[in-house]
Symmetry: C2
Subunit: 471 residues, 2 copies
Amino acid sequence: MFEDLNIYIYTVCNMPEIKKIKPSLPKGTRDFLPAEVARRNYIFDTIKSVFRKYGFQQIDTPAFERLETLTGKYGEEGDRLLFKILNSGDYLKDVPHGDWLNKNSNSVIRHISEKGLRYDLTVPLARYVVQHQSELTFPFKRFHIAPVWRADRPQRGRYQEFYQCDADIIGSTSLLNEIELTQIYVEVFDKLGLSVIIRINHRKIIEAFLKSLDFSMSLGESFLTALDKFDKIGEDGVRLELKKLNVAEETITLLMAFLLGENFLDKFSDLEQKTKESEQGINELSFVLSKFNKQKVKSDPSLVRGLNYYTGIIWEVVLDKENDANNNIQIGSLGGGGRYDNLTEMFGGRDMSGVGISFGIERIYDVMEELNLFPAELGETTKVLFVHFDEASEAYAFEQLQKVRAADIASEIYPGKKKLDKQMNYANDKKIPYVVVVGGDEMASGLLTFKNMASGEQEKLTIGEIISKLK
Amino acid sequence: MFEDLNIYIYTVCNMPEIKKIKPSLPKGTRDFLPAEVARRNYIFDTIKSVFRKYGFQQIDTPAFERLETLTGKYGEEGDRLLFKILNSGDYLKDVPHGDWLNKNSNSVIRHISEKGLRYDLTVPLARYVVQHQSELTFPFKRFHIAPVWRADRPQRGRYQEFYQCDADIIGSTSLLNEIELTQIYVEVFDKLGLSVIIRINHRKIIEAFLKSLDFSMSLGESFLTALDKFDKIGEDGVRLELKKLNVAEETITLLMAFLLGENFLDKFSDLEQKTKESEQGINELSFVLSKFNKQKVKSDPSLVRGLNYYTGIIWEVVLDKENDANNNIQIGSLGGGGRYDNLTEMFGGRDMSGVGISFGIERIYDVMEELNLFPAELGETTKVLFVHFDEASEAYAFEQLQKVRAADIASEIYPGKKKLDKQMNYANDKKIPYVVVVGGDEMASGLLTFKNMASGEQEKLTIGEIISKLK
């Protein structure tokens, strides 16, 4: 206690002049209002309940990691987007004289920063699994829902702080995992009321296919440029461009079949170029597909996913047009994932194949908002508000409130003396569905005025009757 | 899709050599294992349910704030402990030549960092309330549970990343708020099974008292040094030291009464030095105290709290010795708070008196762990595990599992072919209470072996009977 007194007196006697500043946030970050938090929690809780039902356990890791853990994992662009934390104290003292004189941000950085904010939840998972290997049960089924940070240029719908939501299974090569992860996608989006298409593909098929095209990087760039124009110039345009590049007619046909084909798997099975590996890919993909409704879970040969560590089945979830007849919603994938074999290797972990999916929580939020899919009662916080006219009725109302709370009903009393309409506004603004009005009559009779805020109906009830109604 | 393909091919062709590093964390930070997360969630969920019952709504703010928002709010020491984030890109380019030549960490900082990790949840609240004033319902009752970061020297039980958990009411001077916050303390600790003493005091009384002692800073420092020795040299020792400082006998007696006294309020009411303000303090404190059991909620004149912005009632929660007969647990306060009048002023907010409490979640966790207060079933994740012997029984078990999941029971199948004892170990390690064994007999008869892992008992049941048992 004396330590506190000491600090208190010190601070009272050394109060800094408070400089007034305009309240604002760093660009690319957001505050969340209570109604937004309630809707975000609804998404988080729905996903968590499904993860738990499938035996996944929640973990957590620190917001910042050693820079050594993070750098080199996300490509050059990723390294650039890492938020770096300045060392504490006299952080410049270890910068060598030469680097200092050059004033070069790149060469100075390693001497003044050792930590960075996490960029995703995947590299921390790899580190965690290797570091805690002896404390975990394998196959290790974990989920992690947490913010990550990227120094991206902020723009509409893209933030420097955003949540990721991942479920992974580490240490099992069984395809049952792929099936269960697909089931989780189906069940979560079903619970959220969002109709989606789950596209799946297999990395080994893509690799065999690219090999079969004699794909080489010398051809590659112009080739990709041509493909990139697909949306603008269509199939015929791309065919023409590829011809100009002297790509063989046969290759072009294969490529179009690959990208646009229905029944692609059947066609591919007939190809001469198939290898042992691509055959494994086809078998695995067919096995997983066989467990699901073909309208909901679709093989998509053009799906590749952006990350280089995938080695098996890959997923991507997109909005089903059926949600959005007018095709107004322009949004990317709502989830994605895949199997990876070597993720823990960078931290010395061996033979730990993993497979995982993630939910694009920020986009799911935006789509649900746009389609008006959040339950109306999410805005409701408190079930009932007690309002009053003076000190006596406030005290009486406070006593009655205790009985409502004893019945575990979320309830409030308006604190302090304000006009009745002000108190009623409070109930309206907070979407409190019922109000109990306490005045002299009510105190005399013990019959309280119980008002339904939506219908405007009022009735006189005892506190016991009110509690029964609210339950 | 072509964008992805592009990135994929780029990364495959430019794979960096993966440098292996030993997995480790920055000092002062922690990973959380699944069992720890479950216990932490138990504490969070208990507190949240009580906050919501009292009408508090959850908000969130970004992990980092503008440095301008944070600096100067926590004293010199606090400024030193802020984690600062390096600006992106060529962060050295704006450092003036003169500052650069001096290589002075303090003068360079403002040119290379604009953001810092939040140090607590209180300053972000003040900023939030002023910034979103027009979007909030006042009195604004919010709670916020989130990590904060301080560059403290790490030591046993003290971390650089830890959670804070606050509830505040902004925009109401009614003492009902103080009463409700005290009720929340009582209810939460009751639900957690922790017996605590809630100490309360009033800043206006402390201030009047210090004034009455003619307390001045010239005397102050030696005075505080003397008080600081209280634990070591006891009352007599402190009396002696104060005498050496020429503090009047009468003042010393008052001070001792202040710090050690029972029935302090009565004594203080008799003092001549009482002022209008201290009288208000005494009235408010007496009013709040009158609503609670005197063994649980105690007036404590020596309670001052370390923060300089409090202006009214203040709280501190400590462990009741009744939990801990042997007095083995050395731990500080489990919670604290108070009323503050001018918190939003630094951001231009006016007339917004606030009052709030916080829960020391990390300490509550440690005490509950030490006293073994977490419910045993918290470790349980999945209700039942299906185990199998070969491909056929795995496929059969998987079909049965679907029925269990359809009944919303958390359940798993061991993925892949492993010996039965390995599969049983998985159930034991994950504390899964029941196992269903599926082999040839079970498939032929439809009667599955249902094993209680705690008792070792086994019975043969249909899947329907198993579902009824598990429900």
